[in-house]
């Protein structure tokens, strides 16, 4: 059996560093506003006319804002496993940017295992696979050793 190629499910949204992946956003060079997903054309701060942005790797730690489960398969374009396996989705407020970011939760953890305010960290996980590739996406995981 050959090993599948690991590719991001979307280009340029996160780094492929297995040990410590980071979400990639952009920062307005004029006012410092940070955006994820990245904004590269116009600054969305209404007090800023900035047009230039730099890439920024967001902090990978945060605290749970809330979580829920998907107990039924979402419609396309989601690519579901067959049979579908329920999974949790978390909203996590990043410690550094104070921005709430959604992500799937690592397998095996349900919403009711999580509590608002608990520390979470960003990891890489599999979104779906086809014959050649394993498509990767960022996921949230409870952070070990911190409360």
């Amino acid at each position: 059996m050959t090993t599948k190629k690991r590719v991001p499910a979307i280009e340029g949204w996160f780094t492929l560093d297995d040990a410590a992946p980071r979400l990639l956003g952009s920062r307005c060079k004029s006012c410092g506003a940070v955006f994820f997903p990245r904004e590269d054309s116009f600054c969305r701060n209404p007090a800023c006319a900035g047009r230039e942005f730099e890439e920024v790797a967001l902090g990978r730690r945060g605290r749970l804002w809330s979580a829920t489960d998907n107990r039924y398969a979402p419609p396309a374009p989601y690519v579901s496993k067959d049979p579908f396996e329920p999974y949790a989705i978390a909203a996590v407020e990043l410690e550094d940017e104070k921005m709430v970011v959604l992500g799937q939760v690592v397998p095996g953890i349900a919403a009711r295992d999580l509590e608002v305010g608990q520390p979470m960290e960003l990891v890489l996980g599999t979104l779906y696979e086809d014959a050649e590739n394993e498509y990767l996406v960022w996921k949230w995981s409870p952070e070990r050793g911190r409360s």
């Binding site: 979307i10 969305r44 701060n45 809330s66 107990r71 419609p75 909203a91 709430v100 970011v101």
Partner: protein
């Protein structure tokens, strides 16, 4: 800055599977009959668009005008997701207040597919957050409702029993509403037995997608006065957007704005609170003046959020209001006397208009078994994805 509501009309909600234009025309004809006016009297048609019915849905006002028989009226078609109806009301109201027309017809109608709403249109759209949220997260609409609901549980001690009680209350309200799709009194046992869709929300607590149509005939106060009518009026319309930085996660987004980094302070009034607040300020009233409210219960738990967002109580106290019966018929300020989305399901472009129909019937004293005694002021609130606030104040 008021306009008169001369007539209201609805096509019953259901899963009828017919052309949305039929529902809109039926609602429009009922509204005209209610107003005692003819279609030829209408100078302006404001249509609420539907995005799931092809091209005629994107030009809804013209589609309805053609079906009613071209009469040369001017038209405008609007879209604002769930807030579409308020957009159409806002357009018609502005035309009347500007003195550009005396009589305007507002119509919204929808025919919906079964199951979860999915992104419209085909192809891989990697710049469209509504496509991407399904692709990368599987974040259906109920996922967002589930996030809000679980946060209420952890922050405020809300329970699944509280959420079920919202459903039970609304199902009781909707029993006597001939336009409601679900007219059945649910029990706590039935709700607890329905499957969890997006934890903690169960199937019976998440609004269905429905077919339906609703219409209003609006006029200037002067036109109404000349006809000798003392109509119910629209006292305010709010279609506000959020203010930056918006730090509450909302459909269909992946992330909020960052709360730090620019020196721009997070707004004192969060977006969802600003929707009703803007309407209150326009009309010079406050939440203490309300006789009733129609709020967007996309989920049972979301109704509780709205109690706080429209100022019925402070954050964290919604469950107390519910448990005390304050928001049930006969209580201090009944919420969703129509039965709400719980009994209707959602027919997107018609829903905000249907909320105004309910307030109108209530304020005229025509709501039958679900009548709120001596109702004087009502608010209809709602929120459309991509940043659309929607609030309409109706008074007599």
């Amino acid at each position: 800055m008021e306009v008169a509501i001369l007539g209201v009309g609805m096509h019953p909600w259901g899963k009828w599977g017919r052309n949305f234009i039929e529902y809109g025309v039926k609602a429009a004809q009922d509204a005209l009959a209610d107003a005692g006016l003819e279609w030829r009297d209408v100078q302006y048609v404001a249509g609420g668009d539907t995005i799931r019915n092809g091209y005629p849905g994107y030009v809804a006002a013209a589609s309805f005008a053609q079906a009613l028989g071209w009469n040369g009226a001017q038209v405008a078609s609007s879209y604002g997701a769930c807030a579409t109806g308020a957009q159409a009301v806002s357009v018609a109201r502005a035309q009347i207040l500007a003195g550009l027309c005396d009589v305007a017809l507002v119509v919204g109608a929808d025919t919906t597919p079964k199951g979860f709403f999915a992104p419209t249109g085909g192809g891989d759209r990697t710049k469209d957050p509504d496509w991407l949220r399904f692709r990368l997260l599987g974040a259906t609409n109920p996922v967002y409702f589930g996030l809000y609901a679980r946060r209420r549980m952890d922050l405020f001690g809300a329970t699944q029993e509280d959420f079920a009680q919202v459903k039970i209350k609304n199902s009781r309200h909707g029993l006597a509403n001939p336009n409601a799709r679900y007219r059945k009194l649910y029990t706590a046992e039935e709700i607890a037995a329905s499957p969890v869709v997006s934890d903690p929300l169960r199937l019976l607590e998440i609004c269905a997608t429905s077919d339906g149509g609703a219409a209003l005939v609006l006029s200037s106060l002067e036109f109404a006065r000349k006809r000798g009518a003392k109509p119910v009026t629209i006292a305010a319309v709010s279609t506000v957007t959020p203010r930056y930085p918006n730090v509450v996660i909302e459909m269909p987004n992946f992330a909020t704005d960052a709360a730090v980094g620019t020196g721009v302070a997070v707004p004192d009034v969060p977006f969802r609170d600003s929707i009703a607040k803007t309407a209150y300020e326009q009309a010079g009233v406050g939440p203490e003046d309300l006789s009733l409210a129609e709020v967007y219960d996309l989920s049972s738990a979301l109704e509780l959020d709205w109690y706080e967002n429209i100022g019925l109580c402070k954050p964290g106290d919604a469950e107390k209001l519910l448990r005390a019966g304050d928001t049930a018929l006969g209580g201090r300020v009944p919420v969703n006397t129509s039965g709400g989305l719980s009994c209707f399901g959602e027919a997107i472009p018609a829903q905000a208009i249907a909320q105004v129909c309910e307030l109108t019937w209530q304020l005229r004293g025509q709501a039958g078994e679900r009548q709120v005694k001596d109702a004087k002021l009502g608010i209809a609130v709602n929120q459309g994805l991509f940043g659309h606030g929607s609030a309409v104040l109706v008074k007599r």
